[in-house]
Symmetry: C2
Subunit: 189 residues, 2 copies
DNA sequence: ACTACTGTAAACCGATCGGTTTTCATTTCG
DNA sequence: CGAAATGAAAACCGATCGGTTTACAGTAGT
């Protein structure tokens, strides 16, 4: 077993940071984070150099579960088209869940403004990974212009997630046909 | 003439709020706003009930210029397709300008989280206006499903503006073909 | 039992938050 | 000229910010 039954202070802080910054924004105070984690500020600053470092670490260590919940398993038998659509099905599912506020990585970048902020850099890397997945599947599926298709898909992903996050759209009947259209035109059968 | 040569305190505050909250986020302090506007806090709180009210008013009164800079003039001779594409051309232009941080109305809603915040409600209304424009042009152009097309267009608009705003994409060669594809499939000649 | 360590709780630091009030120089007007 | 109104500057308020430090309870190792 690699999983801990009893999360340590570090893990509880990462979890609290993930939960509270997603719900309340990156402006959340360290007092609130420590309280939610049941950890003293002293311990926080022994484990992390700063609040920014905690935030960046929280994003980074949550990335694995995030992409795992979004991407299809590697080398399942399905076609690139199906594998791409899988991602958007998962997004639509997430968007319907209570408490959904949009893609946390996009939100963090928008809230922080500063692109050089460590958490912003982590977020950018994760987004780039998703784009890379799209681009690989596009190429594998024989898309006319894999780069263009990948950019279109991540654009739709971020747009859909943002609009659902602010409650402007519930995505019902929107994402699947839009993605299908882009895949069709790109020649992804 | 309706334009003032000498902006009064109220206008300077609205302008400062627009500039600074866009650049630094809604977390900007009232001291900084007052300093930038050259207005005392006393005057601020005579003119506006709260910082939130100032922010909401700033968004609301900037909306006219915003949509005017985005939408084509009413009843120019052009086709719905051209009029829709016009909006995305303007967006691409904005995105290339220095200091572009994405659509301010989307950013405000993401930063505030709370949908009931007065500024968030103003932002939502403005976005709805843009969607209404898309939907009207879609219908006028004979789109198969005007509602769907309008939702697709605003999704692309927000996605493109967000991704350009965080520096993840420069939109070159992306937005126009994507929108064109959606218009084609919707039957908008 | 004694020491050494761990980590929580809480005091504390200077800075800043949103917001109110006081001060005072300037302008406006009778 | 003198009174009233305006508005900027800044002090002030309690609260909170990110971050440090102290104090102390618990627990291990010997």
């Amino acid at each position: 077993m690699t999983t801990e039954v009893k999360p340590n202070s570090r893990e509880r802080l990462l979890e609290a940071a993930a939960t509270l910054t997603y719900r309340d924004g990156v402006g959340i105070g360290v007092d609130a984070l420590c309280k939610a984690a049941g950890v003293s500020k002293k311990s926080l600053y022994q484990l992390f150099a700063s609040k920014d470092a905690l935030l960046a670490a929280s994003l980074k260590e949550g990335a694995g579960a995030y992409v795992a919940g979004l991407l299809p398993p590697a080398d399942d038998g399905r076609s690139p088209r199906e594998r791409i659509l899988h991602v958007f099905e998962r997004l639509e599912l997430q968007a319907g869940a209570p408490g959904f506020q949009g893609c946390r990585y996009l939100s963090v970048q928008i809230e922080l403004k500063d692109q050089r902020h460590p958490a912003s850099q982590v977020a950018r890397r994760i987004k780039r990974n998703l784009t890379t997945f799209f681009r690989a599947e596009a190429e594998r599926g024989g898309a006319k212009d894999p780069d263009l298709l990948a950019r279109q898909l991540i654009l739709v992903f971020d747009g859909a997630s943002a609009r659902a996050g602010i409650g402007a759209d519930n995505l019902n009947g929107l994402v699947a046909p839009t993605v299908a259209t882009l895949l069709d035109v790109a020649g992804l059968r």
